[in-house]
Structures are given as C-alpha cells and as structure tokens.
Amino acid sequence: MATQKKIPFILVTGFLGSGKTTFLLNLIRKYNRQYKIAVIQNEFAPGNIDGSIIRSEFENIEMLEINNGSVFCLCLLSDFIEKAGNFIAEYQPDVIVLEASGLSDPLAIAEILQQEPLSRYVYLSKIWTLVDAVNFEKLARFQTTIQNQVHIAHEVIINKIDLNSDAADAIQEIVKKINPQAVIHQSTYANAEISITMDTIPESGANKQQVPPGTRPDIQVAVYKSSRVLDNLDVERLVQMMVEAEVIRAKGYLKVSNSTLIAFQYSYGRADYFPMQNPTGRSELIVLGGDINPRKLKNMIEAAQFINATNG
C-alpha cells in the first residue's frame, strides 16, 4: 500500500524586522530549482503588502498570505488551518515554509500541525528563528515571545551582525543560555548556511514501513507541552522508549522538578540532555517519528515516570 507523501513544513519565526523575508528570499534562490517551494506568510511588514517582495522576484512561487492580524491569539488559528489546508492540498509542493508573525507562539503552531486536518498533509520538520543583532539584547530581556521563539528553535540565525559586530559574542551567549542545543549562525542580510533536508525513517527495525521506491515514508509529529513537574521521570528510560519506537528526532525541554529543567535532544538513536542554567519554563517536546502521535508521546513520558516510581 502506498503511503501518502507528507510534506515537510518549516517554520520561520523571529521578531518583525529580524530579516525573515530576506531569509526566505535567500532560501528560495538556493532551492528553487531543486524543490517546489510554497510560502505562507502571516506577517504584516511595511512594504511587503500582498507578499510583493517575494512575488517581484519569483513569479512561480506559490504564496498564501494570511493577513488577518498578527497571530498571537489562538482565536485566529482556525482561519490558518482552513486556508493552509486548502493551499497545501491544491499545490502539493515539496516543501512549505511559513513566515510566522513576530508575535506568534511557535509551539501553538506546532500543535496545530500535529492534528487533523493539517497532519494529513504535512509534518513539522524544523523551526528556524531569526534574531536581530541590533535589538535582540534589549528585547530578549522582557519580550517573552522572543525568548520562546529562540527557546524552541532548531537553528537560530543572528542577523544584521554587521550593524552590531561588537555585541556578536554577547548575543551568542544569550541565545545559548536560552537554547543551549540550537545550531547558531551569525549572518548579514540573512545569509546563513542553512539547508533544507528531507527527513527519512530508518531502513531497519521491526516497524519498518513498506514504502514504494521514490516515495518518502509517512512521518508523524507529536508535541508535548505541560507546566506540571514530571515527577520521577527516568530520562534514560524515555530515551530507550524513543529508540524502541523508532523516533527520528526530538527536541525540547523536560521539567523534572521545580528547580530543574532539562534540555533534551535526540536524533536517530542518540540522545543528549543536561540541566539548564536557567530552569524556568515548562516541559515542551517536539518529536518526529514513523509511528508517533500525541497520545503515544504522552503515554511514553508517563511510563518513564511510572517505571522509575515503581522501581523506587
């Protein structure tokens, strides 16, 4: 039976003015011939009315603008679901890139992507966050959304470094403190060595999917989010369970006590985790796998708590 080809969904976040649109242009220039890229924009930027910046250079790029206000509120996500779903179903691109509003919470978007109907077509592949070297130090101190965007990113691009080169190291340190596991790039004009890669499910293992040649297996994404302390969590056991469940990648944080937040990263059987210097925040984990869903992920975490508790 042929598996449905799911499309990788890349989320580009960052405060207004951090260079997201320029970054998108660079990305499209690099991959336009290799992949059919579709872009969803949900940002009001002066001078980018109706996506004109991208359209002026690439006539063939399929674009969807969701300009119903800066989406910092869940009230407006329903519109996003419907419009994005129709857009993806119609154009069937190889990759989707969402330029999210500077005020949006990336985890709220990730949660929407893990549910029907969007989970039928796409899986959240990566979160890339741009920060503006000129304003970041000031803004990150009090603008919690910027902190959240950096916190959950796979890769962080510190942009406009030429305009504040003296502060480059200091900014890099702040980013590392917020997200010690992100790959960090420094760039000017949003030119960073970032690649679109296609995730694959390992060829070996009991749950190997039978995939016809030339198609990708069906990747699932699950998001876990909780403010409760994960008492007695055996992280090593959780890693073993991820191996058994053939998880491809996982990234996030686990709040194991009121004073300990663990930064957690997992990729193809290998895990890396350690306590954060600043332990404030909730548990949040984004997991990709061939056979994962929100319920399974929750059960997995609960089992890793239970086993530890019963073993004393």
Binding site: N67, N68, S78, D105, F142
Partner: protein
C-alpha cells in the same frame, strides 16, 4: 437562580449550585445568522440578532455584546482590513506613521462603531435582563500595539516615559469605553489584553499594572463587576494580573486551569476559561467537547469558576458542540454519562459485531448509562422491552451499559454519540428520546419487512 445571580455569586467566590457558562460569542453570532463577519460587526441589528440566537441556542449565564478588539482602534483612526470569517485586522498604526496622540481622532460615544455596540448592549439588556451582559473593552497594551505597531517593544526600552504616556492615554480610552458600556446596561466589564502574554512580569508591573489597576478601581467604584482576559502563554503574568485587582481572571488553554485556580484563589479572585478553541470546540465532536468541558469543571470546582472558551469562539464553531456543553452544564445526568465515559475510549477497541447480527431477527440495542440507576435509561429499556415483547420472537434486544467496558465497545462500534440511544439493526433511531410503544413497533416492523424482502 438567574444567570446573572449565578455569575455574581461566582465572582464573589460563593459556591454555586452549578458552574456558570459564558460562551464568548463574537463573529460566531454571524455564523448562526448565515451572514459574514464584515456585515455582522457593522450592524447593530445583526449583532443583536446574533446574540439573541446564541442565548436561545446555548442558554448562557452571561454573554458578550461583541468580541472585536479593533473597535476603539478604528475609532481613533487606525485603518481596518475586513474579513468575511474573522473580526477585522488593524493595518495602519497612526503613532508609527508620525502622528502624535493629539492628532488622533477624538474618542467619544459617537466615534466609529461605538454607537452600534452600545445600541446592541441596550437592546440585549432590555430583552434579557437576567443574563450577565459582558462589555469587552480593548486593554491598554493591546490598544497601544494597534496605535504604535510592534515599535512599542523598542519604545518600552528606549523611551519608557513616552511609552507610559501612550499607555496612560490608551487607559483613558479604555475607561471611557467601560463607562459607555456600563451606561448601556453591561453587568461585567472585561478588559481584554492578549498582548500581556508577550512581556515579562517586570515589564508588566512597570507599564501595565499602574494604569490597569486604576481602570479596575474605576469599574469597582461604579459597582460593576470586572474581568481581566488574557490569551496566549501568559502564565508568568497571572499573579501580577491578580495584583491589578480585577474581580475575575479569564485565560485560554495555554495556561493550566489548576495553576490559575491556585493563584487566583490565593488572591481571593474568581477565574474562568479555558475550553480549547480550535482543537476541541471547532474541530472536535460534541462528545469530545463534553469530555473536555467536564475535565475543566472537575479541575475548577464550583467555587469562583466560570466555564468559558479561552477566547473569541471561531466563527464556524459547530453549534452542536456548544449545545453539547450547554447540555452538560445544565444536566447532572449528562455529567454522570460523561464522567463514565471519561475512561480513555481511544484505547478501547470497538466491539466485534460479526456475530451480533441475525439473519432471521431484528436486533435492537439500547445503549445506556445504566438502567438500574438512571431514570431516562430505565424508561427507554422498558419501552424497548414492551415493544419487543409485543412484536414477537423475530425481535431480540440487548441493553449495553457504558459502566461496563462491553457497553463502551458497543457504543464505539455502533458510532453512538449520545445516551441513552436505541439502535435498530445498527442505526441510531431514537437519541435521548423515549418513543411511544406504537412508534417503536412501527420502526421495528419496517426493519423486519425489509429483512424479509432481502431474504
């Protein structure tokens, strides 16, 4: 006890006989009337009809006049982009474009669409005096974002005094709006400030707390109740929000209800929320909505809690989902049913029906909570028994109580959504409705005739 009395009781932390229910109907009212959001929010008559339709469909204890955080901004000169399925969006920020506060349009009860919402409020209050009417005003920080755009964040760092001046002005507008709504009959003034989720507690205390505390003090001086609405991940600011001394805090799904209960409880403030807007209310089934609402009700308890969506209801939220929550709120019986079903049905396999059907008999299944303890279930089972006895030996019937796993498996296999239900040959024929004997016999006979023809 009227809805208004129930809400008043909840606001002063007295135990209520049932949890009060406030569906935040905004453009969902347009959906009920089959008009678009653009027409709806620009017509006092449509808004009145939409709220009226919502009151009739959802039997709420309280309801907002309108849910549109752009009304004040538009009145001050911000340009709006209208949409058919959402409230409008602000697309121009006058203070970012070089205007000063003095250049903005004067804010009065005759500005923009304010006369429309005030007229709507007066009409609803006259028609439904016993329902708590919520006047929703744009919080000062969100209004400042509309006026200044995202430059406000940089301004907060670079020019704190100038930012305070803008926020103080926005608070003045909010105070006027609160006054207009109170004069028009609103019982609760809700200060809706979703932007609060964007900043840390220290910035909240510096910039937001002083003006908003004054605003709540003003509302209190008029003997009107107040609520502070926030949406988004604003957990860091809940305590500081309580310190602004509103009577109630309302949150969305981003913040755990038990956390808010603990913090507000410690401050002697009531709380509300946090039904999931998109994944449950918009996209879930009626049963999923009931289960989720029941979870909220159990977490929150009956003291100082108001059941409400996390924010403005998505326009196309299915009515049956909100009606299911209404039923749950008003019916202890339905609460028992949902409580039984709270077992994670996703892990239970549906029953195997391959041996269930019989070629020479009509099979009637009654899915109940439990006929020995639930009166409607008992009457339904008796009705089936009487009809089956009278019909003869070609009818077999079974009761499946969902208190047993087998009952849940059968409910899943037959796709039954409400209890009690009579299914004949696998088709749900009578849902929460006990039919007269003749009607039930006719139905069974119809199936029997069909079966005989097939054989």
């Amino acid at each position: 006890m009227s809805g208004l009395e129930l809400i008043k009781k909840a606001f002063v932390l007295q135990e209520t006989e049932r949890v009060p229910w406030v569906p935040f109907v905004g453009v969902h009212g347009a959906h009920l009337l089959n008009v678009n959001a653009r027409e709806y929010l620009q017509s006092a008559d449509w808004m009145y009809q939409g709220v009226k339709a919502s009151i009739e469909a959802y039997q709420p204890d309280g309801i907002p006049v309108a849910f549109d955080l752009q009304i004040e901004a538009e009145a001050l000169g911000c340009r709006l982009e209208w949409s058919d399925e959402n409230p409008p969006a602000v697309v121009s920020h006058p203070l970012q474009e070089g205007k000063s506060i003095q250049d903005l349009e004067p804010f009065t009860r005759d500005s923009g669409r304010i006369p429309l919402v005030l007229e709507t409020a007066r009409k609803i209050k006259a028609k439904y005096p016993d329902i708590a009417l919520y006047g929703l005003i744009t919080g000062p920080f969100t209004l400042a974002l509309h006026l200044l755009g995202t430059d406000i964040f940089i301004r907060m760092m670079e020019d704190p005094e100038g930012t305070m001046e803008i926020l103080s002005y926005c608070n003045q507008v909010a105070t006027q709006m609160a006054e207009y709504y109170m004069e028009s009959g609103c019982d609760v003034i809700a200060v809706v400030d979703p932007m609060t989720s964007q900043i840390d507690p220290m910035s909240f205390e510096t910039f937001i707390m002083p003006p908003v505390t004054e605003l709540f003090e003003f509302i209190r001086s008029k003997n009107v109740l107040s609520s502070f609405f926030v949406c988004g991940y604003a957990q860091q600011n809940i305590e500081a929000m309580c310190n602004c001394r509103p009577d109630n805090i309302s949150i969305d799904e981003n913040i755990p209800l038990d956390y808010v209960k603990e913090v507000t409880g410690g401050k002697g403030i009531s709380f509300g929320g946090n039904l999931k807007l998109t994944l449950v209310l918009l996209m879930g089934t009626p049963l999923e909505c009931q289960k989720h609402a029941w979870e909220c009700m159990q977490t929150a308890g009956k003291i100082g809690f108001i059941l409400a969506p996390g924010c403005d209801l998505p326009m196309n939220t299915p009515s049956e989902n909100l009606k299911a929550i209404t039923e749950l709120v008003h019916s202890e019986y339905q609460q028992k049913v949902v409580d039984e079903l709270q077992t994670d049905t996703a892990t239970i396999e549906p029953a195997d029906l391959s041996e269930h059907w019989q070629a020479d008999k009509v099979v009637v299944d009654v899915i109940t909570l439990d006929s020995s303890s639930c009166a409607p279930c008992q009457y339904m089972v008796e009705a089936v028994k009487n009809a089956a006895d009278a019909a003869g030996t070609h009818v077999v019937w079974h009761e499946h109580s969902i208190k047993k796993k087998e009952g849940i498996q059968m409910m899943l296999a037959l796709g039954i959504k409400s209890l009690p239900t009579i299914a004949i040959e696998g088709n749900a024929e009578f849902i929460s409705n006990i039919p007269p004997k003749n009607q039930l016999m006719e139905k069974i006979d119809g199936y029997w005739q069909k079966k005989q023809k097939q054989s």
